[in-house]
C-alpha cells in the first residue's frame, strides 16, 4: 500500500481502468479499492463477459431455447440476464432445456449424451474462455458430432480498448490489464495501446498484494507522464503469451466485427467460425439472427461498462435494480460492476 500512496503523493488526479470483471470484484473483495488515495480513482471497463454481450445475442439464445429440439448449454452467469422476451431462466421455467455447464467440453459431452437433441453452446467470453470453445469445436469435428453447435459470441479484448480510446476525449489515464487474459495474449500485446494512445498498461494478477504492486507501477507512470507496458504478474504472464492457445483460436475462428452492448459494432472485436467449421454455427443451422442491440429501459450498463458512469449514478441502482431483481447484465453477472458496487459498497451510502 505504501507504494501506491508514495507514488500518488503530489500527483494529479487520475482514473485507472481495471478492464476486467474479475479485477472489479477482487479489488472490492480484498478491500484494495478502499485503500486508494483520494487522487486515484479506479473505474471498471468492458471486461465482464456477460455485461458486454448484446441484447440481440441474448434474444437469439432465448429463441433457440424455445425450440423443442434444442438444449441450450451455457455458463451460469448468462442464465438470469433479461432480454426482450425474458431471460433464459424464465424460458427454462416455461419448459425450455437450458443446462448450466462449467466448460465448453461439457457441452460436447451433453451433445454425445443426447443424440436426439441439438446442443447449442453459448460461446461467450474473452480470451480466457475462447481456447476452450475452440478445443470443443475441434473435438466435435474430430468425432463428427452432428448435433453440437455454438452461438458465436466471443469477444477480443484489445479492439474494444482501442474503440474506447479512439472516441477521443476519454478520461482514462492507464489500464490495469487482466492477468488471466494476458496469460494467453502475452504482455507485449498491449504495446500498440501504449504507443498509439500513450496510456500505460500494467499486467496484474488477482492477489491483493499483486494488485497493489500493479497499481503502484501504474500510478508512478501516470505521475511521471510516461507510458509503457509493465508486467507485475511475471509468474504467470510471459512477453509472448500462450502461442499454442492462440493458434488453436486462429485455426477455428477468424476475426469479425461484433456488436457490444451499447458500444455498437466494433471491427475485428469478435470471432466468426472459419469456413471448415462453419457448420457448427447455430445461426445458420436454425435460421436465427442477432437482432439490433438495445438496453432495458432506464438501464445504463452501456455507460457503466465503458467506465463513464459509476453504478450509484444510475437512477435505478438499488431502487429498481438489485441482485435479486436485476434490470441489466451489470447487476446480474457475479463480475458485473453494478453487482460489485451493490455487494461491497452499497450499505456504506446508507441504503
Amino acid at each position: 500500500m505504501a507504494a501506491v500512496a508514495e507514488a500518488a503523493d503530489g500527483a494529479r488526479d487520475m482514473a485507472l481502468m481495471e478492464i476486467c470483471g474479475t479485477h472489479t470484484v477482487s479489488l472490492f473483495r480484498s478491500g484494495v479499492k478502499s485503500l486508494m488515495p483520494p487522487n486515484v480513482r479506479l473505474i471498471s471497463g468492458p471486461g465482464c463477459p456477460v455485461c458486454v454481450t448484446s441484447c440481440g445475442y441474448l434474444d437469439a439464445a432465448c429463441e433457440l431455447a424455445a425450440r423443442k429440439d434444442v438444449i441450450v448449454a451455457t455458463y451460469g452467469d448468462m442464465v438470469r440476464v433479461p432480454g426482450r422476451a425474458g431471460s433464459l431462466e424464465s424460458a427454462r421455467g416455461q419448459g425450455a432445456a437450458v443446462e448450466v455447464i462449467y466448460s465448453a467440453r461439457d457441452a460436447v459431452k451433453l451433445a454425445r449424451e443426447n443424440p436426439s437433441r441439438n446442443v447449442v453452446f453459448l460461446a461467450v467470453g474473452f480470451e480466457t474462455t475462447t481456447p476452450a470453445t475452440a478445443a470443443a469445436v475441434l473435438e466435435a469435428e474430430a468425432v463428427a458430432l452432428e448435433n453440437f453447435f455454438i452461438l458465436p459470441g466471443h469477444k477480443v479484448l484489445l479492439p474494444a480498448l482501442e474503440a474506447l480510446l479512439s472516441a477521443g476525449d476519454v478520461p482514462i489515464d492507464g489500464f490495469l490489464c487482466p492477468g488471466h487474459v494476458s496469460v494467453i495474449l502475452g504482455a507485449a500485446a498491449y504495446e500498440p495501446i501504449v504507443k498509439k494512445y500513450r496510456r500505460p498498461c500494467v499486467v496484474v494478477g488477482f492477489e491483493p498484494a499483486n494488485m497493489l504492486e500493479g497499481i503502484g507501477l501504474l500510478v508512478r507512470q501516470v505521475a511521471a507522464g510516461v507510458a509503457k507496458v509493465e508486467n507485475a504478474y511475471g509468474v504467470a504472464v510471459s512477453e509472448g503469451g500462450n502461442a499454442a492457445a492462440r493458434r488453436m483460436i486462429e485455426q477455428v475462428f477468424a476475426p469479425a466485427a461484433t456488436e457490444w452492448r451499447a458500444m455498437g459494432s466494433i471491427p475485428a472485436s469478435g470471432l466468426a467460425l472459419r469456413g471448415p467449421y462453419s457448420r457448427f454455427d447455430a445461426r445458420a443451422k436454425f435460421g436465427v439472427e442477432f437482432g439490433p442491440d438495445y438496453e432495458p429501459p432506464g438501464c445504463r450498463c452501456g455507460e457503466v461498462i465503458q467506465g463513464k458512469l459509476e453504478p450509484t449514478k444510475c437512477a435505478l441502482f438499488a431502487v429498481k435494480c438489485s441482485p435479486t431483481a436485476p434490470v441489466g447484465p451489470c447487476m446480474v453477472s457475479s463480475e458485473g460492476t453494478c453487482a460489485a458496487w451493490y455487494k461491497y459498497n452499497l450499505p456504506r451510502q446508507g441504503r
Binding site: T22, S30, G31, K33, S34, P49, T128, T129, E335, R348
Partner: protein, 347 residues
Amino acid sequence: MPQSPDSSDQRPADRVVLAHGGGGELTRRLLAERIIPKLANDLLAPLADSAVIDAPPGKLCMTTDAFVVQPLEFAGGDIGRLAVCGTVNDLVVMGAKPLALSLALVLEEGLGLDLLDRVMDSIAAAAAEAGVVIATGDTKVVERRGADGMTVTTAGIGSLPADMPPDATTIAAGDAVIVSGLLAEHGLAVMSARKGLGIRTTLASDVAPLGGLVEAMLASGGRVKFMRDPTRGGLAGLLADLSEQLARNIELDEQALPISPAARHASELLGLDPLTIANEGKVVAVVAASDAEKVLAACRAHPLGAAAAIVGRIGETSDWPLVELLTCAGGRRIVQRPYGEELPRIC
C-alpha cells in the same frame, strides 16, 4: 465418484420401484430389511404410530429440516449424515441436549438399493455419534425425477437446561466472535463433487454432530451469549442476520478467518467468496470479551474445534448496522448475505 440414482448398471431388482411405496409386501420388506434394523432402539421398537418419550423437566426444543443435496454422496459425508447432524446441531446450538429424531425418507423410483443401504448405515452411525435415537419415521416412494434421488427430512426434540438458550440481548460492544473450525470446506466439497465442475480438490465435508464441542465450550465457564451453525449463506449470512437483529456493527478480521489453503484455492478458482459458502459441523459463538480466550481454549481442546479462532468483534449500535471485513491487504469492505445461489463465474 458416487453414482447418481440411474447411472450404475444394476438390475431392476436392485432398485427402488414404485411398489416399494405401495403399502404392501414390498413396503414391509423394504422397511423390515433395509431401514428399521439399522435404527434399532427402544423408542422405535414398538413401531406404533407415534413414539412415546419420557418428558424431562423444564422446556423442550423442537426443530425440523428437509435435506436435498446433489450428489447424494460426497467426500466426507452423504445426505444421511447431513440430515442427522443438521437437525442435531440446530438443537445443540440452542444449548439443548438432543433426545430423539424423526426420519422421513422420500425415495425416487430407480434409486439404487445399495445407495439406500449406505445412506441408512450413515444415518445410524451419525445418530450413534450424536448420542441420539431415531424414534419414529416414514418412507414414501415417488416417480422418477419427482425428487433428487432421495430427500430426507428430520425433526428433532431436545431438552433445554434452565440457563439456555444463550441470551443474545446481553451482547455488548467488544464481545468476541468465535468460529469453531475451518470455513467453507463442506460447501466446496459438495460443489466439487457435482458433475462437470471440473475442479479437482482434496476437500472433504466436515459435517459432524456438535454436541460434545458445544458442551465443552459451555463447560469452560465463559459467558457464551449466542450460538448458531453457519450453514446455508455461510458466515456472511449468519453475521448479516445477527448484526441486523442486534442493530450493531460487526467487524471481522480476514487474517484471523480459519480457511484452509485448499478451500481458499478452490473458492478463488470458482470466483466465490468463502464467507458466503455453506458450512457444516461448525458453530459461531459470541462470547463476552473477557472470556473469549477461555472459550477459545476449550474449543481448541476438542477434536472438532482444533482450528477455532476469534474472527471478529461486536461493534457499536447503529441505525444501519454493517458487517465489515478488515482485509489482509489492510482495506475494508462490507460483508452482506448472499443473494441467492452463488454461481461459479465464467472465467
